[in-house]
Symmetry: C2
Subunit: 299 residues, 2 copies
DNA sequence: AATATCAATAGATATTAACTATGATAAAAC
DNA sequence: GTTTTATCATAGTTAATATCTATTGATATT
């Protein structure tokens, strides 16, 4: 039977394409790693690594087996995590991935209670675009994602957290600024400022706006919600913001936030983790705390 | 890092609930296994096994970790199989699960070409009820299933093989015996002989018949299609048989097989394997051969 | 009370993964 | 064209440890 150590060596080579550095990463000497890899190749009767001078690379067979090896190592990590979590259920490290249009506005509401109620869990927060988060969840770099649900997010465990309305943001001098509600029809022919590509908020907000007959301002795409907010304040256009991003920001920045009349555009914020993840107790605890924490934020 | 050997010991104990027998299964002495399990428990700081005199059992923590351990061992097996299959892609052992209402009638059509075209693969055939097959596929005891598709079979890779019509079987003296086609309405108030519980053909055929107003003969449930066939021949009632079970059987047994008018009742025969299974080449080859082999059997 | 069953312990042995030191080879530098 | 550097392979040694056999201890069963 294969040894887990061998698989670690193999994946390290795949990562670094360099025996010395891979050996360092495994905390062994280079000859040790070289020798073990050779033995592995002999046992499997396969050449896994192409040793060109100054250029180490994997053979096709090597690539394939590295994938399998990562699966095994992930399962082994799961075993150890499950063991630790049995010893002390709500403890250990938990890596949470969030998207940039949610993290800075939601975290102030949820992290205090997470940190106090689940004090033995160390929360690591990672901000990234949706697709990267999903990849990192799959590979095990992240344990939990909190993001707006999209229908193609299959193959994960899903927990609904809350529905976040999008609201209209205008400068005080804008024609819509003093309405108490914005209707679908109000959007007709309005010019909308948007985020740059890759933000799921962009796709979602634009979908809503276009179907209402609004137009995107193609001359500008913001890299963050804050940029967008400043543009709106400078009377360059209007935009849609998630409601969490509008709390405690209104007075000082001369922006009017106006809710939509029904049907309100919404983001369905969910928590995802891998199906079969070893620490479901921690996940469920987080889900409960987040639900508690946002209770009452949305009417 | 945990060792795979430890996980094998743990799962062996889970299987045999007996140190001696588990040790035999692992090809080591009993003290070796005892010692390693103890070390494992110390490392994890968890009691995994309850050692009652003459009664070895797992603690709840043990049960949980055994599950995780099996995952790891499955992944490791996958790695080794992937390696072997890279060495010689279409070779090795392949365990195929089939249901009893399909296997004896389909295998004569498909095994000859599988054995000749994929001569280096050793095919092991397992006949069992659907739910058992799915469990065994999940746990890795089986590599491939061939059975009628049901909507709850999620989480596997699926390949459509062929659609098998069901046909009406009657004795020659039955009122429907000499029709060239049976319609939905012909079933009204007919008495249908059925298989015993657990056969998916029973559920499927009955679903069709009941919706047509037919009635089940509650006084009798057959344990196999062959019993059913004899009952029909003895003029005890009529039944629905999958078409493959009617080929080359008609003349000698005095049964009339009558096709249905559209919409024909159908079984959608699919091939399932685990997603991410390491030997997809072999699976695809089997899929292709089976599709070839049944081509022309159904008009 | 005697015996059988079964897991734990003790001590010896063999395997092997790891180390340090060195060698070999080819690209890069002068 | 020679030297230097980078990089992986080889050799020999050491330390760790999984395994074995033999035995003990404890508890049901007869």
């Amino acid at each position: 039977m294969i040894k887990l150590r061998d698989l670690e060596y193999l994946t390290a080579i795949a990562e670094y394409k360099h025996f010395g550095r891979a050996a360092d990463a495994c905390f062994v000497s280079q000859p040790t790693l070289s020798g073990q890899i050779q033995k592995l190749e002999q046992r499997l009767k396969l050449t896994l690594i192409e040793r060109q001078p100054r250029n180490v690379m994997l053979t096709p067979a090597g690539e394939k087996l590295v994938q399998q090896a990562r699966q095994v190592l992930n399962a082994a990590r799961n075993f150890e995590e499950a063991a630790k979590s049995l010893l002390d259920p709500l403890s250990g490290d938990l890596h949470i991935g969030l998207i940039p249009t949610l993290a800075p506005y939601a975290l102030p509401h949820i992290m205090p209670s997470l940190n106090s109620k689940l004090a033995k869990i160390n929360f690591y927060l990672h901000e990234n675009k949706t697709q990267d988060l999903l990849d990192q969840l799959t590979t095990g770099k992240l344990d939990i994602l909190i993001l707006p649900w999209l229908p193609d997010m299959t193959g994960f465990e899903r927990y609904d957290l809350f529905n976040e309305p999008l609201v209209m943001a205008t400068s005080p001098s804008h024609v819509l600024a003093n309405k108490s509600q914005v209707t679908f029809d109000d959007l007709h022919n309005q010019k909308i400022l948007t985020l740059e590509d890759g933000h799921c908020l962009r796709d979602q907000a634009m979908g809503y706006c276009f179907s209402a007959g609004a137009e995107e301002d193609h001359s500008f795409r913001a890299t963050s919600l804050e940029t967008l907010r400043y543009m709106v304040a400078s009377n360059m256009g209007i935009t849609l913001l998630p409601q969490l991003a509008t709390l405690n920001y209104a007075p000082q920045q001369h922006i009017h936030y106006i809710p939509f009349a029904n049907p309100k555009p919404m983001r369905e914020i969910v928590l995802l983790c891998r199906t079969g993840y070893a620490r479901m107790e921690s996940v469920r605890a987080v889900v409960n705390e987040v639900r508690q924490a946002v209770k009452g934020l949305f009417d």
